[in-house]
């Protein structure tokens, strides 16, 4: 899951050199609009539907990966 999110961040925002603990706002400079777009792209790729409250609460890459795993997101490459 982590690799998928890293791939989206690189593809969509050109962001590299991240860690699971990277904070979306503080470390990656993403705002709520970017997170909303990220959720949309992740849903398309991973075949899940994320709850708005849940993805907005995610502070780090790890948070969003954990949440996606609870949704049973597709993890195949």
């Amino acid at each position: 899951m982590y690799e998928k999110i890293v791939e989206i961040l690189k593809d969509k925002y050109g962001i590299e050199n991240v860690t699971p603990e990277s904070n979306f706002k503080k470390d990656l400079g993403l705002n709520s609009f970017d997170l909303m777009e990220l959720a949309f792209v992740a849903e398309e790729i991973l075949g899940v539907e994320m709850k708005e409250d849940a993805y907005r609460k995610a502070e780090t890459i790890k948070d969003i990966c954990d949440y996606l795993e609870t949704l049973g997101a597709r993890n195949e490459n």
Partner: protein, 538 residues
């Protein structure tokens, strides 16, 4: 050059507006939305029928003069419930992002009798932190029993609309009808009492400044007066089609699907959309083509030939011509950037206490850098200290059960906005704020004192200041600078800040902090000098 206000039909309350739309636009699509790839169209007559069914249900239950809270995500029923309630009861739109604890406080302070929740929001009323007043009744809009009320297909359309109109025709336009929440001009949570006349004349004002062609698009939270009044209600007043975005993550998809002429937004969305376009252009290695197209369009515009929609129509959607920015000030660069691709960004200015719009730029007279043209019948004057004062039919009835705050905000019949600015009598310019409110790029207001008092209540904290810190060109975070009594306790600070954040809505959370070894700088009366720390940049 003089730009007269546009003529519009005159409705002075919701009954007149709904009756007018029923008589002239019955078959026109009022609302369009997409849910799970399925587009639904609802005509004015069907929307008014559902409004009538809810209104008549309230009547048969003996619910009149009550406070009806709506705690819901954006959805079509929000609109019908609002309109069904406002003529005989008081609608209390509540922010679905607030915590269970804050919800309890709002319900109690605003004397809510009935709270309407949804499957998505009901959890917050089921939490242990929600303390339910004994007399509060909670209804779930998604419950089958409630759905039967407004989705009653067997009800005779004409008959129930007539019956509802008969019931509400004597509605008092000046009665307190909407209780909107605001963090106010000083940051403390308050209830703003608005009448139908406040709201209706205000939405009419927006239509007197600009023509809203069909269709319009709305995605801002419906509990905000800015999200609801000039975006949603103005379209209904106008009798055109409103396309609703139900989930913000589908914003760009819905824009492309609905292809609207207009929408109202906040800086974060306007800036985010443009940055998203540029990222996509770069990703496809079309940067040179994009820049060349801008130059070609500029050249032809000199001769009155506008090619922008031919070149750039596919970037967002072909029909989009007008976006109004509100909630917070927009970086003026984006006005020019969007103009280059054929979209006019207009600024709007207002506050909940003014229902909310005071001024909005006009397409024929868009003074870039201004906050817009003052709307018809609104009197704006500038106080000696530069504060913007407002008088007119949009000004609230007062703060709910807070006479002291009402008195404090009124100056000789004018409402003191807390903003500093100037005007030439037609156009208004806002240059700053009198008080310490942090206005985020999504239009939300954060009173720093509220966060600071929470941080200062940590026993080993001596003092603190909360500021907005720039992370990059368009992102800001809430950042605390904290001085400790006991530096040995610093290791606990991260957890204690996380605990504070737990009770705060996400937009109000402290994202990062630093510990300062030096005391915060103060003036002679020992107050922290905020300007030293304000807008802290990296």
């Amino acid at each position: 050059m003089d730009y007269p206000y546009l003529d519009t039909v005159i409705y002075d309350n919701f009954y007149e507006m709904l009756k007018g739309r029923y008589e002239t636009k019955a078959k026109t699509t009022a609302i369009r939305f997409m849910d799970r790839e399925q587009i639904t169209d609802i005509s004015y007559e069907d929307m008014i029928k559902e409004t009538s069914l809810i209104g008549l249900y309230l009547k048969t239950q003996g619910i009149e003069g009550k406070h009806i809270g709506i705690f819901s995500e954006n959805r079509y029923e929000y609109i019908t419930i609002y309109m069904a309630t406002v003529m005989k009861n008081v609608i209390v739109p509540l922010d679905k992002e607030i915590t269970s604890k804050n919800l309890s406080e709002c319900v109690k302070n605003f004397d809510v009798d009935y709270l309407l929740v949804t499957d998505e929001t009901k959890q917050k009323t089921e939490s242990a932190e929600f303390s339910k007043p004994d007399n509060l009744k909670i209804l779930n809009i998604d419950d089958e029993d409630f759905k039967k009320v407004f989705k009653d297909k067997s009800a005779d359309k004409e008959k129930c609309i007539e019956e509802f109109f008969e019931y509400v025709k004597d509605t008092d336009k000046d009665r307190f009808a909407v209780l909107a929440s605001t963090s106010g001009t000083d940051g403390a949570m308050k209830g703003v009492m608005l009448s139908q006349y406040n709201v209706i004349t205000n939405i009419r004002g927006t239509l007197e400044n600009n023509v809203l062609k069909n269709p319009t698009f709305a995605f801002l939270p419906m509990n905000h007066t800015y999200g609801f009044n000039p975006c949603i209600l103005a379209t209904i007043y106008n009798g055109t089609t409103l396309c609703l975005n139900l989930k913000t993550k589908y914003l760009l998809r819905d824009l492309r699907t609905f292809n609207p002429f207009f929408f109202g937004a906040v800086p974060m969305v306007i800036e985010g959309m443009y940055d998203s376009i540029i990222r996509e252009v770069k990703k496809q290695n079309k940067e040179n083509t994009f820049n060349r197209a801008i130059k070609i369009c500029k050249f032809f515009r000199k001769f009155g030939i506008d090619l922008r929609h031919i070149f750039f129509g596919k970037l967002i959607c072909k029909n989009l011509r007008l976006v109004v920015n509100g909630g917070a000030a927009l970086n003026a660069d984006y006005v020019n950037k969007f103009d280059e691709i054929g979209i006019t960004i207009l600024n709007g200015y207002g506050l909940t206490e003014c229902s909310p719009t005071i001024a909005v730029s006009r397409t024929g007279n868009n003074v870039v850098g201004s906050a817009g043209t003052i709307m018809k019948n609104i009197d704006v004057k500038i106080a000696e200290d530069g504060e913007i004062l407002v008088k007119g039919p949009c000004v609230m009835l007062g703060y709910y059960k807070n006479e002291e705050a009402t008195k404090a905000i009124m100056r000789d019949g004018y409402l003191a906005t807390g903003d500093i600015g100037y005007t030439d009598g037609k156009v208004i310019f806002v240059t700053g704020r009198k008080k310490n409110l942090i206005i985020l790029e999504n239009g939300k207001n954060v009173p720093p004192e509220l966060l600071e008092s929470k941080i200062n209540s940590i026993p080993y904290v001596k003092e603190s200041i909360v500021v907005s810190k720039k992370v990059n060109d368009r992102s800001n975070i809430l950042y605390a600078i904290i001085v400790l009594h006991d530096e040995e306790k610093q290791e606990f600070l991260k957890d204690d800040i996380a605990n504070i954040n737990k009770d705060l809505p996400s937009y109000m959370q402290i994202t990062d902090f630093e510990v300062s070894k030096d005391e915060l700088k103060k003036n002679s009366s020992k107050k922290i000098i905020r300007s030293v720390y304000a807008n802290k940049n990296e």
